[in-house]
């Protein structure tokens, strides 16, 4: 299976992607006739979301011989993050050989850190290779997910009131799939063009334009170097600087691709090497250790080498421990800021006006376009749509003080429900897909159990979940994430419901065991 995948080349180009998207849209339109009139026989598995997680789930189910599943996707194309984040410069910051599924390696990655289009190409390739298209229902925006105890069935209801039923449900709607313009005073007064990084406007011509970029996180620092190349002038509005490490980016030489293709084991070896390199980063990033100081020193040297002006360097120097927020990697961000047509502005933003951005030093910075690289709407203490479990209990209510789950994947009172990227599953130092693979395999075990024993309910015991979380929070207290900076990892009250406090290897070990005694079965 893996070999055959390896032999085909992903089609990474945009035209192909777009064509597929429209084809999918047409197909979706053809399939439209409503399913909402008569109650349908529930499928085995209902998957919400066709990003890496949802599609990976589908592949693993198929490989386990479970073919009876449906994927509900609100957009008209697959890809999630990589379909939505098509801004110039968009790329992964974990090497592609690690930021891909081990069960579907791609020998043809063109660079060590591939761009968004190429990653999207890989995702499309997964869909084709594993014949997933027929399982996907596009333009189904799930607005409610409810469990019926009597029948042991989950029902997803879309915003158009269509319903889909399944014995097990997978919430794979993505942790970073919702975005909106930030609530800056006056944002609606702006007469120029507004673009959110995760909803890029490819038709806007930046040539000669005066552009403001708000936000200098992972997306911002990828966009800025590209915009500086084309726009007339770029003003970068920074609230807090992040730690930036150099990025060992290079094009994959042809011999390397050939080697990976001929000898898949060599690619696995590469993946292992990358995996352990990143694992060791955990020591610097997750806990405050001597390696933390070294990582900070590397970042400072990087800054010193690329920025000569002392004040600019001060403006770009973070005042929190490295790892407390997402570590950034870039070679061209600092140089871009120093180009003649770029400027870093660290004055706080007072408001947005008709013509631009007013900062607290009293000046209105007039621009033609504002790019918001302001991140995503992350819910720490709610769910993106109502999720109702046993006895009508509502997950969002229970999570008010911060989300909690068992091993990040199940929640007591919500039987047969599995989540990818659930509470405390976030990696700070390694590929999200490494974590995802363990989640997918865990879910497959649970689903196999439900189907084999013909269970109505597989529900994690409350005490088990409580003990698990107590241990997690105890370990989190000692991490850099909880060291005092404000980040999207934490709730307003500083509760960390996002990150996993340990090595990916530890996480994988946690997920490798599916203990039946942790669950109540009916």
């Amino acid at each position: 299976m893996t070999e055959s995948t390896a032999k085909k080349k992903p089609a990474p180009r945009k035209a192909a992607t777009r064509k597929r998207a429209t084809a999918a849209k047409k197909a979706a339109a053809k399939r439209k006739p409503a399913r909402n009139t008569q109650p349908v026989k529930p499928v085995s598995v209902l998957i919400v979301g066709a990003g890496f997680a949802g599609l990976g789930m589908a592949i693993r189910l198929k490989q386990a011989g479970i073919d009876d599943f449906v994927i509900l996707e609100r957009a008209s194309a697959v890809g999630g993050t990589w379909r939505d984040n098509q801004y110039p410069g968009a790329a992964c910051d974990i090497p592609s050989n690690l930021y891909s599924y081990s069960f579907a390696p791609n020998p043809d990655w063109s660079r060590s850190f591939s761009g968004s289009e190429e990653i999207l190409g890989y995702i499309h390739h997964l869909v084709a290779e594993f014949d997933l298209e027929k399982h996907i229902r596009f333009e189904k925006n799930v607005a409610d997910l409810s469990f019926d105890e009597k029948s042991g069935v989950w029902t997803a209801t879309t915003d158009k009131k269509e319903t889909f039923a399944g014995r097990a449900a997978i919430m794979a709607q993505g942790p970073l799939s919702n975005c909106s313009f930030p609530a800056i005073t006056g944002i609606d007064d702006f007469q120029g063009h507004k673009i959110h990084s995760a909803r890029w406007d490819h038709d806007y011509d930046f040539r000669g334009k005066r552009v403001a970029v708000i936000g200098t996180g992972a997306s911002g620092i990828q966009i800025i170097p590209e915009l500086v190349k084309t726009a007339g002038h770029v003003k970068v509005f920074q609230r807090t600087p992040g730690w930036v490490l150099p990025r060992p980016d290079f094009a994959t030489p042809a011999w390397n691709k050939a080697l990976f293709r001929k000898l898949p084991a060599s690619q696995q070896a590469m993946r292992n090497l990358l995996y352990w390199t990143h694992e060791s980063m955990a020591l610097a990033v997750i806990w405050n250790s001597p390696l933390t100081r070294i990582a900070e020193r590397v970042a400072r040297l990087h800054l010193r080498r690329q920025v000569k002006d002392r004040w600019l360097r001060r403006q770009l120097t973070p005042d929190f421990t490295i790892g407390c927020k997402r570590v950034l990697v870039s070679n061209d961000y600092y140089p871009a800021l120093q180009k003649d047509n770029a400027k870093l502005i660290t004055w706080p933003i007072a408001r947005i006006s008709e013509k631009g951005v007013r900062t607290v030093e009293g000046i209105e910075h007039q621009v033609d376009c504002i790019v918001f690289a302001t991140g995503f709407d992350v819910s720490h203490s709610g769910t993106p749509f109502p999720v109702k479990g046993r006895g009508g209990r509502v997950l969002g209510d229970e999570w008010q003080g911060g989300a909690q789950a068992y091993k990040s994947i199940n929640v007591s009172g919500y039987p047969n429900l599995f989540m990818t990227f659930g509470p405390n599953s976030g990696p700070g130092h390694n590929s999200a897909l490494v974590y995802m693979e363990s989640q997918l395999d865990y879910a497959v075990k649970g689903i196999e159990k439900i189907l084999k024993d013909d269970l109505k309910m597989l529900d994690v015991k409350e005490g088990v979940q409580r003990r698990h979380n107590k241990a997690i929070q105890k370990r989190l207290a000692r991490t850099n994430w909880n060291s005092g900076c404000k980040s999207w990892y934490l709730t307003e009250d500083g509760f960390n419901a996002t990150m996993y406090p340990g090595f990916a290897t530890q996480y994988a070990a946690q997920m490798a065991e599916f203990e039946e005694r942790d669950y109540e079965t009916v």
């Binding site: 706080p348 007013r358 900062t359 607290v360 030093e361 009293g362 000046i363 209105e364 007039q366 404000k486």
Partner: protein, 310 residues
């Protein structure tokens, strides 16, 4: 003035901001500046705008040292607000034809030395040093220079601008005194010996050597403009009064130091202080400009233009 709730203060700061473009800099009234006033006012405004700018840099240093996120944000805003004051005062100078083309005015030599010191050492000073010096400077500005300016200058645009500037300043003072009291308070109180340790630090001694002549020089300038000396001193007494209104405030040794320093400054008969410091003013006046390093790049962010188009 009781101690203030800093979280509420931050919210208030964020929701009440103004910009240079809120003021019509071309409105009538510029001709109310008399020919006799003009040259002295030009020098005064140049000093004032530089002092604002220097204050801005001190707030930037305070932001780095802030003990919590709220105070860090407040100082970050104050940094920008002081810059706004400098920008607005330059816009007034522009309106009154006091700028050479679009150039920013030359800082006097004492200011240049203070700028240099701030650039090199401010970030390394503990919170309680700058946290006491800054309110002292602010009260001198707020209570004396600005009120005096408004008494003498009839231009309505000047009054509009300073109404806003003074609103900001009263918040700066409120926060400044609250922090001084925090520094003297039980749990956070660091201990006088430790707090006074920086006194022996050569970096701070250099700082004092550049700050003291600046005060004397300022005093000379305002007196040249016709400000009754007592007004300046009265303002500095206000520092003593407000800073020392609570036990906590009085317990802060830096408050005591700055207070006594203020007394020296305001008492011309303290010859042991004034003779050497006035000597320093004269001495610094002899430093050739070429002897100073290039101005740090934070200085170049000053502008009198309400809008930046590129």
């Amino acid at each position: 003035m009781a101690s203030i709730d800093l979280d509420k203060m931050l919210t208030k700061i964020k929701s009440t901001q103004w910009a240079l473009s809120d003021i019509d800099w071309d409105a009538p009234g510029a001709d109310l500046i008399t020919d006799e006033q003009w040259p002295k006012l030009k020098e005064f405004m140049a000093d004032l705008m530089w002092i604002e700018h220097v204050g801005a840099r001190a707030f930037a240093a305070l932001a780095k040292k802030a003990p919590d996120d709220t105070l860090r944000q407040i100082y970050t805003y104050f940094h920008a607000e002081e810059q706004r004051h400098a920008n607005a005062e330059m816009a007034l100078m522009k309106r009154w034809g006091m700028l050479d083309g679009d150039e920013i005015p030359e800082p006097n030599i004492n200011l240049r030395i203070v700028i240099e010191w701030l650039d090199r050492f401010a970030d390394e000073m503990p919170l309680y040093v700058l946290g006491t010096v800054v309110p002292m400077l602010e009260i001198a500005l707020d209570g004396a220079l600005c009120t005096f300016l408004l008494d003498t200058v009839k231009d309505p645009v000047c009054h509009q601008a300073f109404e806003r500037i003074n609103d900001d300043e009263s918040r700066h003072l409120g926060v400044g005194f609250t922090v001084m009291e925090m520094q003297g308070r039980g749990k956070t109180f660091i201990g006088a010996t430790k707090m006074l340790a920086p006194l022996m630090d050569p970096r701070l001694i250099l700082g004092i050597a550049s700050y003291a002549p600046l005060l004397n020089k300022m005093r000379d300038n305002v007196i040249a403009m016709g400000l009754p000396e007592e007004k300046l001193y009265k303002a500095m007494k206000k520092f003593e009064r407000i800073g020392g209104r609570t036990e906590d405030g009085r317990r802060n040794p830096w408050f005591q130091i700055i207070k006594y320093h203020g007394r020296f400054v305001t008492n011309r008969s303290q010859r042991a202080y004034h003779v050497p410091v006035d000597g320093l003013v004269k001495l610094t006046n002899m430093v050739p400009r070429r002897a100073l390093p290039a101005v740090p790049s934070w200085v170049k962010e000053l502008t009198w233009q309400p809008t930046a188009t590129h």
